[in-house]
């Protein structure tokens, strides 16, 4: 016996199975991200100070526009299938995949920026934030010791004063040479730096995994998966609709993430 309602809707619920499934899955996703947002609130309420301005608002705005656009193309792609036009579907859904890739590329640029930004505490207790010469990725005091061993030191350029920095004179402070001997602690602005960065990386990392997962499914349905259009067009359209629903959810999460992490 075949499983009923895999394609055609059940009359009393008006839904086919996969649509019930995806809505339930999204309900569970709401609880997942809801718990992380609640954690954000609890951590922030309990924090002595909460950093501002660590992220670039223009870049975040750009990514927001990218994702919203992709939500539009995903609907247009589904609507094209409803109108029986596979080539328009391919055009729109191709745009969706490209937009998703753009989002991930911009996001990884933002991540790199954090892992090349350093906090350093010198042996005399001075605390500084800034960049290392050559922008190495995610160094610690151990990398510094290795550099010293081959007889080199590394130049540290402290940030401009005014923002997170301590100095009041404006402009870049004088560069200093770092050695294993005068550095007590060196770490990049990864998730370990503060609870703000911890929740930032967790929320955006999990969201990025959702973007990548969604993009993979959409790309599959754009490419090899679209063969089903010839054998079972209705079922194929349903598949596109269901992954579109997921995509809207991913978009919606970002609509919450952007103000919470970039603006507030």
């Amino acid at each position: 016996m075949d499983i009923p309602h895999t394609v055609e809707a059940r009359p009393d619920t008006g839904l086919y199975n996969a649509k019930v499934g995806i809505w339930l899955f999204l309900a569970s996703e709401v609880m997942l991200f809801g718990a992380l947002f609640s954690s954000y609130i609890l951590l922030r309420v309990g924090a002595e100070a909460w950093p501002h301005g660590l992220l670039s608002v223009p870049i975040g705005t750009f990514n927001t526009v990218v994702l919203i656009t992709s939500s539009i193309t995903v609907v247009l792609a589904w609507a094209s299938l409803k109108l029986g036009d596979l080539s328009r579907f391919k055009l729109y859904q191709g745009c969706t995949v490209l937009l998703a890739l753009t989002f991930v590329a911009v996001k990884s640029f933002e991540y790199r920026d954090k892992f090349t930004h350093y906090y350093v505490r010198l042996q005399d207790g001075t605390e500084l934030n800034g960049h290392l010469a050559g922008n190495p990725l995610n160094w610690t005091a151990a990398n510094l010791a290795d550099t010293n061993r081959v007889g080199a030191s590394i130049t540290f350029h402290p940030d401009a004063a005014g923002g997170e920095g301590e100095g009041a004179h404006g402009g870049h402070a004088e560069p200093i040479e770092l050695t294993a001997a005068n550095v007590a602690k060196l770490e990049s602005w990864g998730p370990w730096r503060s609870t703000y960065l911890a929740i930032y990386f967790t929320l955006t990392g999990l969201h990025a995994l959702h973007v990548i997962g969604g993009a993979l499914v959409i790309a599959y349905l754009w490419g090899p998966g679209s063969r089903m259009w010839r054998s079972d067009p209705e079922r194929f359209t349903n598949r596109v609709e269901v992954c579109g629903l997921f995509w809207h959810f991913v978009d919606l999460v970002w609509i919450f993430l952007f103000p919470v992490l970039y603006l507030l």
């Binding site: 839904l15 086919y16 499934g21």
Partner: protein, 607 residues
């Protein structure tokens, strides 16, 4: 009627004949290992969960030696532990405090996440729910298979963690931070990391399962199977699936954050100024240990109802069948199950009265906790009243189902003093708590699961289990369960902590001073009862496998003369379940209808 085929024969999956386009897969691997058939997956879940149940028992049996005879080498098994885990864990066959903590944490984890829930939800839910609603399979058979294999992988990760350097997780099944992060700083990938990765797999499994269950119950009910014609067991599984769907993700979020604390050095749950072994921990700080507890118990409490609701469902089925009369207050049962499901999301912080979260919050959660006891009592009362005036058949499933009622009653009522924030101050973290929740889960849920195994075994295999040895299993289990758990209330009232690896010996007062004098003596008795409880399971294990091949064959597809749809299938049900699409004409418990020629009217019998 359809012939009752041999369970091992290759004809099983094709017993319904060649009418179906999906005649079922052939080949051992695809039919029994990577099967998408809900019945095979149910049995896979069941057998795996029973193995974990035995393993969870084994950990406890070893811990009971340490509690009864602290510091003495464990006979026979001590040598095995030494060889398997090394002298760091079992020096000269003596259980070290670290090993005790590991076994304690893993006993809880295995029993809850790998044994009882997979058995109650994964096994019985998978096998019975599609049959009872008249569906050919689950809505998403491939996702169903993925659910089982995620569970299996999670179990393997948990098992492997015993053998890694530093041993398995040792911070309790609740994994409270910051203890869970700093318990084993010597190892980067420690037992806790494995625990968290295993949990992510188990949560994925339960997510896939719960989506599938809910979609199946909503979409695949047979013609005429209205919501209030669903057997109570289906309702119980339906609510359970919602609890799993919505309560587990916050734990997944918490698990991700604790994993980051452990591996990447974040401070989600690590407060500022944390000092470990006399040295300040080099982390950013600013995190909140309470946050972990909130997220954990947001799952943890609904999980209690995940453990108990399917058990109530099984008991309801067995009671109705063996009293030969309709359940008392079917609608009250359904609405109570829904009320429990809703309320279980707003009671979690009653596990946290002693964290200093504030009296106002305690009062709120105390109120909701008292409220949730109301639907629980309604269900238990309705089940009790269902017995009234019945002509009861005392077979093995019925004995276990009957025993469930007072056992769950004791478990539930002893929970009330824990739910009041004032009395909880005395009882918190004592053996009273252990006694309370074990009465709910062990003689409660596990008895119901045994009832379910004896009850549905003939449908799944086409053979009956041995009645005499079933009764022996019941009587011995009933006696030893109570001898194990009843004295724990006394120990708890004496103030015995649930976490001591020496059973509280270090706290015992001197001669003539009131202290743990009685509790320490009871430790020895409880341990012997616990080991005998294990012996009492031997008849069951032999019975289960003996009956599979040698049990008397069922002569009818409906040996218990039951009303629900699973008995309207061939025995055992073939791939696709029903020979023709069933139509439902009546409610689930039409027993002893006046003027009817038989004392039962199956749901598919035209009215």
């Amino acid at each position: 009627m359809t012939a009752t085929t041999h369970p091992g024969s290759t004809a099983t999956a094709h017993a319904a004949g060649g009418h179906a386009p999906h005649a079922g897969p052939t080949g051992f691997l695809w039919k029994y290992v990577f099967s998408t058939d809900h019945k095979v997956i149910g049995i896979q879940y069941g057998l795996t969960a029973l193995v974990f149940l035995l393993l969870g028992y084994g950990l406890m049996a070893l811990m009971r030696w340490q509690l009864a005879y602290p510091g003495q080498p464990i006979p026979v098994f001590g040598e095995l532990l030494l060889r398997a885990l090394g002298p760091d864990m079992a020096d000269r066959g003596i259980m070290t405090p670290d090993l005790y903590n590991s076994f304690g944490a893993m006993h809880g984890t295995i029993m809850v996440f790998l044994a009882v829930v997979p058995l109650a939800f994964g096994a019985f839910g998978n096998y019975v729910v599609p049959l009872q609603i008249g569906a050919p399979d689950m809505a998403f058979p491939k996702i169903n298979m993925a659910s089982y294999w995620c569970y299996f992988a999670g179990g393997v990760v948990m098992l492997v963690s015993f053998f890694i350097p530093g041993g398995a997780a040792k911070s309790g099944w609740t994994s409270y931070s910051p203890l869970a992060t700093v318990a084993d700083l010597a190892h980067r990938f420690d037992g806790q990391t494995f625990w968290l990765m295993g949990m992510v797999l188990l949560i994925t499994s339960s997510l896939l399962g719960s989506v599938n269950f809910i979609a199946t119950i909503i979409q695949l009910r047979a013609k005429g199977m209205g919501w209030l014609r669903l057997p109570f067991f289906v309702w119980a599984q339906f609510v359970t699936a919602f609890l799993l769907l919505l309560a587990f993700p916050p734990l997944e979020a918490a698990g991700i954050m604790q994993l980051m604390d452990n591996l990447l050095g974040t401070s989600f749950f690590l407060p500022t100024g944390l000092v470990v072994s006399g040295r300040p921990l080099d982390v950013s700080g600013g995190g909140s240990p309470l946050l972990w507890q909130h997220l954990f118990w947001f799952l943890g409490h609904p999980e209690v109802y995940v453990l108990i609701l399917p058990a109530m469902g099984i008991v309801a089925e067995v009671l109705a069948n063996n009293t030969r009369k309709p359940l008392f207050g079917y609608k009250s049962l359904v609405y109570s199950a829904l009320a429990i499901g809703f309320l279980s999301f707003i009671v979690w912080a009653h596990h946290m009265y002693l964290t200093g979260m504030g009296t106002k919050i305690s009062t709120f959660f105390q109120t909701t906790t008292m409220m949730i006891s109301i639907p629980s009592v309604i269900i238990l009362t309705a089940l009790f009243i269902s017995l009234w005036g019945g002509s009861i058949r005392f077979n093995t499933p019925m004995l276990f189902a009957l025993a469930f009622l007072p056992m769950f009653g004791i478990g539930g009522l002893t929970g009330l003093p824990l739910g009041f924030s004032a009395t909880d101050i005395q009882l918190h973290d004592t053996y009273y708590v252990i006694g309370h929740f074990h009465y709910v889960v062990a003689p409660g849920t596990i008895f119901a699961l045994f009832a379910g195994i004896y009850y549905w075994f003939p449908k799944a295999t086409g053979r009956m289990m041995n009645e005499y040895w079933g009764r022996v299993h019941f009587v011995l289990s009933f006696i030893f369960m109570n001898l194990v758990f009843l004295p724990m209330f006394v120990q708890g009232l004496e103030g015995m902590s649930r976490r001591r690896d020496d059973g509280g010996a270090t706290y015992a007062a001197g001669e003539g001073v009131y202290g743990l004098s009685l509790a320490l003596k009871l430790n020895v008795g409880i341990s012997h009862a616990a080991w005998l409880l294990g012996v009492a399971q031997v008849p069951f294990m032999i019975n289960l496998f003996w009956s599979l091949w040698r049990g008397p064959k069922v002569v009818s597809d409906n040996p218990w003369q039951a009303t629900t749809l699973e008995w309207a299938t061939p025995t055992p049900p073939p791939h696709g379940n029903f020979t023709h699409r069933p139509v439902v004409y009546r409610g689930p418990y039409d027993y002893s209808l006046p003027g009817s020629p038989t004392d039962y009217a199956p749901q598919n019998l035209p009215a």
